[in-house]
C-alpha cells in the first residue's frame, strides 16, 4: 500500500509541487508557519489562493489566471481529461497518490447529469499527512460491540474523519489478531495507507459505495467493511443488505451533531436495521491529532427518532 508522505522538509508532495507555479510554491514557503503543514490548498481563477494550516485559512497573494487553471486541470488529469470525466462529474479528481482534488467550474448538464466541466473556477487540494497512529479507541469500541455491529463516525468537514478511518482500518487489519478488512475507497483517499505487507486489507478503489459494500460482503468474505462518507438512501439499502450478511460496517458521515445525523435520509433505515451499534461524534483541537469522542449507543440514539 502506497505511503503518502508529506516530508517534514516539504510542504507539498513532490509530484504536486512539480505541477504548481513557482511563485505559488515560494509564497507557500513564506506563508506556512515553520513546523506546520498545509491541510488544504485552494486555487481560484482570478482570486487569491488560500491555504489552510492548523484549521486557519491563510490568504495568499498568488492569483491564477484562466489559462493556468485549464493547464493545471489537464496536468492533474495526467493529460487525459476524458479518463476522469466520471469523477469530475462528481466534483473531484483522485490523483495517483491518493490526493483528492475538489474541482468546480461551469457544469455542462444533460438530462440532469453533469457531463463535463469547463471554465474551471477553483481547485481544492486536500493534502494527506503521515500521522501518528490513530483509531485505537474506535477499534476498542468495535471490540466492545463484539465485532458484530458497526460504528458510524460523524463530524463536520475537516475534523479528520478520513484520517481516523484510515487508522481504524490499519488497526483492525494488522496486529496480533488481524481481521479481513475490506475498504470501499470510492474517492481514493482511504488508500493513502502506510505500506504494510502484513495488513489483511482488500481495497475496492473507485467503487460506488453501495456496490462496493455488496461486493465486499458477497465475494470478498470480509470480516469488517470500512467506508467513508456514506449518505444517501440508495447506499443505505445496500448497507442494510450487507449487514444482514453479517458483516459489520465502520463508516463516516458528515454531520455536526447526532440529531442532524439521524435526521438524514436513509439513517432511519440504517438505525432500524441496527447496522450501527454506536454513533461516534468526533472533534479535534486545531493542528493536533488528538480526537475527542462523543459516543451514543444504539439505545440512546433510538430516543431521537
Amino acid at each position: 500500500m502506497q505511503c503518502i508522505v508529506v516530508d517534514r522538509r516539504e510542504l507539498l508532495p513532490r509530484f504536486l509541487a512539480a505541477l504548481l507555479p513557482l511563485r505559488l510554491l515560494e509564497e507557500l514557503e513564506r506563508t506556512v508557519p515553520g513546523g506546520m503543514f498545509p491541510e488544504e490548498l485552494r486555487l481560484r481563477r482570478g482570486r487569491c489562493a488560500s491555504v489552510t494550516v492548523g484549521g486557519e485559512n491563510l490568504r495568499l497573494a498568488t492569483v491564477l489566471g484562466g489559462e493556468e487553471m485549464e493547464t493545471l486541470l489537464l496536468q492533474l488529469c495526467t493529460g487525459s481529461l476524458y479518463a476522469h470525466s466520471e469523477t469530475l462529474g462528481e466534483g473531484y479528481l483522485v490523483l495517483s497518490n491518493g490526493v483528492r482534488v475538489g474541482v468546480c467550474g461551469h457544469a455542462a448538464v444533460v438530462g440532469g447529469k453533469i457531463t463535463g466541466i469547463s471554465h474551471i473556477s477553483s481547485f481544492s487540494i486536500r493534502l494527506p499527512h503521515k500521522t501518528p497512529p490513530v483509531g485505537g479507541e474506535i477499534c476498542a469500541l468495535f471490540e466492545e460491540l463484539s465485532h458484530t455491529r458497526g460504528i458510524l463516525i460523524y463530524a463536520p468537514p475537516g475534523v479528520g474523519k478520513t484520517t481516523l478511518l484510515r487508522g481504524v482500518a490499519v488497526g483492525l487489519a494488522g496486529g496480533a489478531h488481524p481481521r479481513r478488512v475490506a475498504v470501499v475507497d470510492t474517492r481514493g483517499e482511504l488508500g493513502a495507507f502506510t505500506e504494510g505487507a502484513e495488513l489483511l486489507l482488500d481495497v475496492l478503489m473507485g467503487y460506488p459505495r453501495g456496490r462496493g459494500i455488496g461486493i465486499a460482503t458477497r465475494t470478498l468474505s470480509a470480516e469488517v467493511i470500512v467506508c467513508d462518507e456514506i449518505g444517501d438512501l440508495s447506499e443505505a439499502q445496500e448497507i442494510v443488505a450487507a449487514h444482514t450478511g453479517g458483516v459489520p460496517l465502520i463508516a463516516t458521515a458528515h454531520a455536526a451533531g447526532i440529531r442532524e445525523l439521524l435526521a438524514r435520509p436513509g439513517m432511519r433505515l440504517l438505525h432500524e436495521a441496527r447496522v450501527f451499534g454506536a454513533y461516534v461524534g468526533l472533534s479535534r483541537a486545531s493542528g493536533q491529532f488528538l480526537y475527542t469522542y462523543d459516543v451514543t449507543d444504539w439505545e440512546a440514539a433510538d430516543a431521537f427518532f
Binding site: 488529469c77 495526467t78 493529460g79 481529461l81 470525466s85 457531463t115
Partner: protein
C-alpha cells in the same frame, strides 16, 4: 589505366545500385510508418472508447511492434514526445496532422476525443491507402532510376 577505369565504372555503378536500394527501403519504411501510425491512432480510439484509458497507459500497454513501426525506440510518455523524438518519413502535411492530433489528444471529454480520433483517422487513412497502392511503382522507380543515372554518368565520363 584500364584497371582504374573499370574500377571507377564499377564504383559509380555500385553507388547507383546502393542508392537505389536505399531509396526503395525508404519507400517501404515510409509505408510501414504510415501504417504504424494508423494502427496506433485506431488503438488509441479503441482504448478511449472502451475503457477511457489515459493516454500514458495506452502507450505503455501498446504492442511493441506498433510502436516500432511508428519509429519509436522506447515507450513514450505521450504522443507529442514520441513525434518529437522519432524520425518521420511521412509527408510534411501528415507530420503536421499528427502533431496537431498529439496536441489535442487528452484535452477533452470522451465524446469529443472520439470525434477527434475519427477526424484524424479519416485524414490519415487515405494517405496510407495511396502510399500502399503506390509502393510497388515507387519501389521499381527507386531501384531502377539511380542505377540508370549511374550508367548515364558513366557514359558521359567515357
Amino acid at each position: 589505366m584500364h584497371f582504374f577505369k573499370w574500377l571507377g565504372i564499377g564504383l559509380i555503378l555500385l553507388c547507383g545500385i546502393f542508392a537505389g536500394v536505399c531509396f526503395a527501403a525508404f519507400e517501404r519504411r515510409r509505408v510501414a510508418q504510415a501504417e504504424g501510425f494508423l494502427a496506433l491512432l485506431r488503438l488509441i480510439r479503441l482504448q478511449i472508447d472502451c475503457f477511457s484509458m489515459p493516454v500514458g497507459h495506452i502507450l505503455a500497454a501498446c504492442d511493441k511492434e506498433v510502436l516500432s513501426a511508428c519509429g519509436a525506440t522506447a515507450v513514450p510518455a505521450d504522443l507529442g514526445t514520441m513525434l518529437a523524438t522519432t524520425r518521420l518519413y511521412l509527408s510534411e502535411d501528415i507530420c503536421r496532422l499528427l502533431r496537431e492530433f498529439a496536441s489535442r489528444l487528452g484535452g477533452s471529454y470522451r465524446e469529443e476525443e472520439l470525434r477527434c480520433c475519427d477526424y484524424y483517422l479519416a485524414r490519415l487513412a487515405p494517405y496510407c491507402d495511396v502510399l500502399r497502392a503506390d509502393l510497388a511503382r515507387r519501389e521499381r522507380m527507386a531501384l531502377l532510376l539511380p542505377p540508370a543515372l549511374s550508367v548515364a554518368v558513366i557514359l558521359l565520363l567515357l
